[in-house]
Symmetry: C2
Subunit: 205 residues, 2 copies
DNA sequence: GTCTATAATCAGATAGAC
DNA sequence: GTCTATCTGATTATAGAC
């Protein structure tokens, strides 16, 4: 509830928002780097440059801290999907999305999703923002997948859900880090290779 | 160094070995279930049914505990590879290996590899048994990959190292768990689908 | 080698002054 | 809201009896 005397309150809110954005950026990076379990709240505070207790004024727990980062990534994915031309061939859009997630991962900005039994996982499942985003993303991708299958650009033999999961999984594919560690290829080359294995497969065509 | 008076010493050693096998089996399962960070030594001891202090008589640290499990998996992979017919088409052998790792994962026996910066990772890098096994596996797979590419069964455009990493990555592909959680498909169907996405790709052929 | 009991450390979370 | 200092509990690891 803000007064009508001008943008004074809004300024304070902007400061708050900026600080929280900085926190989430740090969390996002650490989450990508070492995963939820290995990330410590002390580290987050140190990287942000504030006291740990101050963190807890913004986020009530470590899980909520991580969830905020996951929600932000999901938002970005939604934004990216929304901007893709619905007139383009569905397969092109799908490739564009996978390329985007891979570039995110190569930049160290893709938090590793908790596939295992984690406290973060249950927190996320109860987070409306995250789940809504996930549904939205899944719906959009699902529509393109079915369209691509209908025009036989994607294999119609695979269940659409299997294709969807495969696209999600490529966003956290360890192959990207392996190839990057090797140091033999540029990021752009790595993306193209993994993109090729994903859509074209390993077998010759 | 055993005496020559008979199998007496061997019996005690067998008991010891059996106990350690039981420990490693538990560690392997927990590692697959929750990963290294989330697994606790207390859990391991409870599952095995012995006191935690007894565990530390067998293995000097949590890292070594996990490393022993990783080494065992690597040994099994080596055994499996050795038993494959070198006369068979290389692509068939590669498919067989990937199928084997996927079945392992679906049975909950594939420890999630520490792709992230983990204390386990550095321990493994200094573990001769593990690294030797990894080299052996990589060499065998690498030879088949190059042979398959030479006869154009695998795409010759991809660097062999990229193919190798892709095969490794499929061993811990989260798509398998996703599809299993959905409950719509039998394990065998899931394996065939992921095998298809891996070798044939998502695009129609 | 196995146990009970305990040390030592670390990490998530909080109290209370400013 | 931010800080310092502290609490609390969990977890790795060990001591010492049997």
């Amino acid at each position: 509830m803000r007064s009508n005397t001008g943008p004074k309150v809004s300024f304070k809110e902007q400061m708050l928002q900026a600080r929280e954005d900085a926190i989430i950026a740090v969390v996002n990076q650490l989450l990508a780097e070492k995963g939820f379990e290995a990330m410590t709240v002390d580290e987050v505070a140190a990287h942000v440059g504030i006291a740990k207790a101050s963190l807890y004024k913004h986020f009530p727990s470590k899980e909520d801290l991580a969830a905020a980062a996951m929600v932000r990534v999901m938002r970005r994915a939604q934004d990216f999907l929304r901007d893709l031309p619905d007139s383009a061939p569905p397969l092109d859009n799908l490739r564009a999305v996978v390329r985007w997630t891979m570039e995110l991962k190569l930049r160290g900005e893709m938090p590793s999703l908790p596939s295992q039994n984690s406290s973060l996982r249950t927190t996320l499942m109860h987070n409306k923002d995250y789940m809504d985003g996930l549904m939205d993303v899944s719906d959009r991708l699902g529509a393109w997948i079915e369209a691509a299958q209908a025009q036989r650009a994607l294999s119609p033999d695979l269940p659409a859900i299997a294709v969807l999961y495969t696209l999600f999984a490529r966003a956290c594919d360890p192959v990207l880090e392996f190839l990057k560690m090797g140091g033999l290829y540029e990021d752009a080359q790595i993306v193209e290779m993994v993109l090729s294995t994903c859509f074209d497969g390993l077998k010759a065509r």
